[in-house]
């Protein structure tokens, strides 16, 4: 593993694929305000992805820029976690995914802000402010739906149960990385436990922990996502407007 390059690529791919998935809600959200909210969060993720992938390309030193990394890699070359490539599901699943993602990204970016690498530190310091807002937003929805009607509670619990197995991959130990994800787990657990408790939801128990995203072994969902994201660039290389 080429340490810093691989690390920047993982974070950049997490943000890029999350942005693409969230953007699928545009014009389809349950209400206008939420449509705007999800598009804004997608935009924040895309902003972080651009900074991280640009930096990853520089670290690699092979002449690849953010566009080459986003548009000209196949699924086996992506290093994002499986969580972000999962389909949006219903609104509860999307909020459960966003809760997990933002509760992971916030301590990660915060730790990054204090790391020795100046570029990563600057990106972390910037992105953590945005992650805090995403965490706020997803927490509010999880509480509202969990502690809402019988039907919203049922679907929010089902969503948390569905997403939970994918948490383990986020915190797989990597002592050589600029930030070892395993060190972030206690803060994540505390944050999410508080939200679930207030939402009257039961923390899932599961021993199934699918992984592989960090090694380029993905679910079939990623290929479809990439096909849509990359089709224009592949059909018209270098297209600009």
């Amino acid at each position: 593993m080429n340490g810093p390059f691989e690390f920047a690529l993982r974070l950049g791919d997490d943000a890029l694929i999350a942005a693409q998935r969230l953007a699928e809600w545009t014009t389809r959200a349950p209400e206008m305000e939420e449509d705007v909210a999800l598009a804004n969060i997608a935009l924040d993720q895309l902003g972080a992805a651009r900074l991280l992938l640009t930096y990853a390309g520089e670290l690699e030193g092979a002449g690849r820029d953010e566009d080459a990394l986003a548009y000209l890699r196949g699924d086996r070359e992506f290093r994002n976690c499986l969580l972000v490539e999962l389909p949006n599901g219903d609104f509860a699943v999307t909020m459960a995914k966003l809760l997990v993602l933002s509760a992971y990204q916030l301590p990660l970016y915060t730790a990054l802000a204090g790391c020795a690498d100046e570029r990563l530190a600057a990106i972390g310091a910037k992105a953590r402010k945005e992650s805090a807002y995403h965490l706020d937003h997803s927490s509010l929805w999880v509480k509202r739906l969990g502690d809402g009607t019988e039907e919203s509670h049922r679907r929010m619990q089902a969503a948390v149960d569905q997403v939970w197995p994918y948490v383990a991959e986020l915190f797989a130990p990597d002592p050589a990385a600029p930030i070892d994800p395993a060190t972030l787990r206690p803060e994540f657990d505390a944050t999410v436990a508080d939200v679930l408790a207030e939402a009257t939801l039961t923390p899932p128990e599961t021993s199934w922990a699918p992984a592989g995203g960090r090694d380029g072994v993905h679910t079939e969902h990623l290929s479809y996502l990439l096909a849509e994201m990359q089709v224009l660039h592949r059909a018209h290389p270098g297209a600009a407007w």
Partner: protein
């Protein structure tokens, strides 16, 4: 030739057109490279994904070219991260006059900020409510005045 700092400071933000980029606090520095004599402009985005950055760079180039500095270099920095506390007093007044409620102060890290009522930029009433945590651009949220019923944009404190 016009002073490059004056020329760049007058560039308006493309999404909040009542403010200059200087008043918004995203213009960090205007220097001259001692070796080449070129103007070096340093800017920072409000949000990482701010889609207005390309337009802002183009507008800075245009303003500098018109002022007699066609060879400018524009650098984008992300550290320190932009804060709404960097919006100038004149900028805050212009926002309010344009119907956009200015952000509450964020303050230093670790200091617990007082939550101040967001005042309606039209009637001044503090009886307002948040309609949506997100708004028409990345930096705004949507609010409504309970006194005059008018919806308005509020720049999110960051």
């Amino acid at each position: 030739m016009t002073d490059p700092r004056t020329a760049v400071a007058a560039v308006v933000d493309p999404e909040i057109r009542v403010l200059t980029i200087d008043e918004l606090g995203i213009l960090r520095a205007v220097d001259e490279d001692p070796a080449s004599g070129r103007v070096v402009v340093t800017i920072t985005p409000t949000y990482t994904g701010c889609p207005a950055m390309d337009v802002i760079r183009a507008d800075i180039r245009r303003a500098l070219a018109a002022a007699g500095h066609p060879e400018a270099e524009i650098r984008t920095v992300h550290h320190p991260a932009w804060s709404t506390d960097w919006i100038s007093e004149s900028g805050r007044a212009k926002l309010a006059a344009a119907g956009i409620a200015p952000p509450s102060p964020v303050g230093a890290p670790g200091v617990v900020a007082l939550t101040l009522a967001v005042r309606c930029p039209r009637c001044g009433s503090p009886e307002t409510e948040q309609l949506s945590r997100f708004g028409s651009t990345a930096c705004k949220a949507l609010w409504r005045c309970r006194s005059c019923s008018e919806p308005f944009d509020h720049l999110k404190a960051l």
